[in-house]
Symmetry: C2
Subunit: 318 residues, 2 copies
């Protein structure tokens, strides 16, 4: 049977719908999150271990996640870092990775070497061992590498779910125009922050920002009768040589790789503790609100006292 078709094909679905379709097809073979798809990482066989074990998988593909303007070292580093960002958002520490690569025979050896150096030096920086993987060849001008990263923690998992009305919403850094500024290659995953946040009882939910604030925030408010209010003036916008992000770019662009999290209770006490460890204060950009006046899972933007509904989406990796 030919896998490709002009009609009734993947082109008719959004990335989210494709993922939902695949997960639906997997049926009872796929457990609910956090044990199956639906959080930043999967939580594995909790009961067997004293520590919790986590797994996540993310790829870089030439022409999609980087192009020829990126040095191969930075592209290799990006592959490792975007997976670390997922482990970080669960409050865990990464320790081992498997790579699965597809490339064509006309891949430059010098380029491949440099990509591997970028991957390996980032692995070394974070104490991650590269433990194996797989390789397959295709026709021409193609390079992709998937990485499956394993992590563990002795704290309970920091999930996307768990936020409640009144919680404060934070991000760890500036947002928007990640691609134009080079941030999508040069970011530092917020691993230390994630591990620390995982130990704080007041932190109720966390995710990493890879699909854009407007989309990733929906994962935080998707369970329970909650919505979110974003304080427009408090959203930190990226400023870089040659540009500045707008609020809509901060909401809609992808690959920020900051942590987005919800904090219950006294925010001043939390910020003081955070500052004492990291030397900066995370950005308090909004609050979890009751959904009574609207539908659950909605995002409101408050600007100069006026509250509007945010209808935008985020960044599609597909």
């Amino acid at each position: 049977m030919n896998p490709f078709a002009d009609r009734n094909c993947v082109c008719e679905l959004s990335e989210k719908e494709i993922i939902e379709r695949i997960c639906g097809n997997f049926g009872s073979s796929m457990p609910p999150p956090p044990f199956g798809a639906g959080d930043d990482c999967a939580l594995i066989k909790k009961s067997l271990l004293r520590k919790n074990l986590y797994a996540t998988s993310d790829a870089v593909i030439y022409g999609r996640h980087f192009d020829s303007s990126a040095s191969p070292r930075r592209a290799g580093a990006k592959l490792m870092k975007r997976n670390i960002s997922d482990i970080a958002s669960m409050g865990a520490s990464p320790f081992a990775a498997l790579t699965s690569s597809i490339f064509s025979k006309n891949l430059s050896l010098e380029w491949l070497d440099e990509f591997c150096f970028g991957l390996a030096s980032t692995a070394e920086e974070y104490g991650i061992k590269l433990i194996g993987g797989d390789l397959a060849g295709v026709e021409k001008d193609f390079f992709s590498m998937h990485l499956t990263l394993l992590g563990d923690s002795s704290t309970k998992p920091l999930l996307r779910s768990g936020a409640g009305v009144g919680d404060w919403i934070y991000v760890t850094g500036v947002l928007g125009r990640s691609f134009e500024s080079g941030h999508h290659l040069d970011f530092q995953p917020r691993l230390r922050e994630g591990i620390w946040l995982g130990k704080q009882k007041c932190v109720r939910a966390c995710t990493d920002l890879s699909d854009g604030l407007g989309q990733d925030l929906r994962n935080i408010i998707s369970s329970g009768e909650i919505s979110a209010e974003i304080f427009a003036d408090s959203v930190p916008l990226r400023v870089f040589t040659g540009g500045k992000a707008s609020l809509s770019q901060a909401l809609g662009d992808g690959e920020d790789y900051e942590l987005l999290f919800a904090v219950r209770g006294n925010y001043m006490k939390f910020e003081k503790s955070f500052f004492a460890v990291f030397g900066y204060v995370p950005f308090r950009i909004g609050r979890i609100v009751n959904s009574k006046c609207g539908r659950p899972g909605e995002i409101y933007i408050t600007y100069s006292g006026v509250k509007t509904l945010y209808n935008g989406g985020g960044f599609s990796h597909f």
Copy 2:
């Protein structure tokens, strides 16, 4: 930097050389086998757990590992089974898998659904949970899915290394012409056998046959001053509608997905025990021999009392 080049590119290397180059580039980030690449699976963080934990990764790509003559269900099942075969060869049991897929927007939804059903029903059959993964899009007429499979065992790992002079060499089934016969899609991974073999003290080494006997056997005899003698008349050749494999196909073709293992001591006692559990006797195809008369790591074929050196290779997945 452009990843593709006309010269100094991957085309100049064999699959083995490409893998060696990548592992070399990973440097100290990649531990030696079985903790890093070099066995069927990687062995993870042994000390942390009462059980040993294993990880492996293998892909199927349309046009390389299957074509339009295969139903999508069989292709999906193949992806799961070829990973199970790796876990089996370590004497372990699989329990969780992550999928990483790249496909184009013109992928047929019906085809995708069927592929997922094949994958999920095989997962269910073997008690494996699909716990997450990743998805990325590319231009046209492309489908690949990588699977990372995790397994565990309470026995010590069954490694490729460990065989010694005098050990008997066995395979669990007939070999050769896997693609022509459809076996590469319809095989049953030797999971029960692998778990049982892992518990037998007399079994000294094991691997699965994915690159062809002539190549996979080299992994068994690559450490120590040992070589292997193959009894030509004892190698079981695949017979199927429309054909029969030759000895050279049994040695050189890939994707047999049988177990290849070495047994020390009384072979009759071993075969009796094996038969009592599985109802068939595995094929005793040769013996580990001393390398004194030749170089280590050589394969000799004995046919009608004449011993010749086997210089052939195996199947390249690249």
